[in-house]
Assembly symmetry: D2
Homo-oligomer: 159 residues x 4
């Protein structure tokens, strides 16, 4: 199979400036490495990651909650308008071989949870801190910088 | 509207004995208070909560991931077979006016996240510990006992 | 298993008077036979079927597209608020052992299609007429009256 | 917005030879016109349309029912693994500005229904024949050849 690696980038629609800068750099670095960015297709972190990917000549695919492709941000190359509301969070992480979480809120947490449920490795940039009552190793690696997150995600998927 | 209160009870399909006992008590206490239990319809905590509700003469509704109603546990009174896989987690918490989380793993975490995204109050019995980077008040109240969780959930929905 | 039979009743939110009267009679007859009505939870045919079931002392379960249980019609006994938009049509027919289609439009057609995809028998009261290019036997039986539709649906599920 | 036109191509996973040849030609012609093919990502008509698009240097996006991107056929350029089962049919047609239906069975019918529910124009190549009881104009145009279907679909979206 000659398909490029797909990495999901998740985070809030109302990202703060630091998160947006990080997301844009993550998108750019993924594109530079030849990976496709999968995101939720809307604003904030999703838009910044799409913008970074596009600026580097790469591809971002926006997976929207609604049925109207025009709701995607302008940097997305292709749009999947799922129509299943917040259940599209499952589609976002299902479509990435690994997941990079940047900041984020409840929607992002649902995506981290689904990603781990599906066994996908998650790399977190200043995102949620989780503690399970009995399990130590949660499969979520914290990264300090966008470069570190991208490098670790690509290494995890053998790319 | 004369509909009874509906409370979602969430937790793992492979609950440990303590969690199962708690879930059964939660189900029983909700039923005794006239509330309907909404759950994921399968085994473990879902089954124990259903069993408790039924034993007290109450109703548990099982909201399944698959399309086969026969996959529901035997204590569920009515079955909704969604066919949308893990996206049914959104349906489980959407159907409760409040949510009681017991122990649980990634699926439960996705439900807690969706519940809070929808603004539903969550009451946790030895479940995930979460820390958001900037937000203090997460809307998740920890309970020490099934009685406390049920009492708080019913109070939160004005019942 | 001692669960009651569940029959899905589908049709448009803007049903015409004849369809509404039929839906109410279908709901009533199902309830009189001890069957639970599964419907989309909103207005029109869904509401009429719920009203009929309730009037006969039976149970209708409303499976909503949105995440707000308050969107259900007032005759629904229990509500599942799926949050997955029109994908809830899959949940409605998945939850019935047989399906009765009354009049209806595109949403109803999607439900008939999903019902048959899942292998559920469909009984149609003045609903869509379908012709497949190569297959003769589509598994959709036309009924002339509500009584006939209900009788055939219950017979099909061995009730 | 400089995004390319997206057209959904739908049909059965077990397409007969004539349907497969048509699907491949539809995919090729769409790609030649610069349009992106959206499909269900699996075999049969979905695979043939993807193959045609790829052979012409174009892009097919596979929108899968499951959560495993590896279930996509080899001709798909990018994969969205929705995890929502047959509810992904809503995502397929929601992502196209117009829909071309080739042959097909119940899944295809659910997609035609959702497409029309969303107001998308449908172009049918030897697919289902539908008759609504009161509505004459269903918004489904029959095409005799792949060329005609593609031309009409592109004209409908102003491309």
């Amino acid at each position: 199979m000659s398909r490029p690696v797909q990495i999901a980038v998740i985070g809030a629609a109302e990202g703060e400036p630091g998160a947006l800068a990080d997301a844009e750099e993550v998108g750019r670095r993924l594109a530079e490495a030849g990976a496709v960015v999968i995101c939720g297709g809307r604003g904030g972190v999703m838009e910044a990651a799409s913008k970074g990917a596009k600026a580097a000549g790469g591809i971002a695919i926006g997976v929207l909650p609604g049925s109207d492709p025009d709701e995607a941000n302008e940097h997305v190359a292709y749009v999947v308008a799922t129509g299943v509301g917040q259940a599209r969070n499952l589609a976002v992480v299902g479509s990435g071989q690994a997941v990079i979480a940047i900041d984020g809120h409840w929607g992002t947490l649902s995506e981290i949870a689904f990603a781990r449920k599906l066994g996908k490795p998650v790399f977190a940039l200043r995102s949620w801190e989780l503690q399970h009552r009995t399990e130590r190793e949660l499969g979520i690696a914290e990264a300090e910088t966008p470069a570190e997150a991208v490098e670790a995600a690509l290494a995890a998927v053998g790319s």
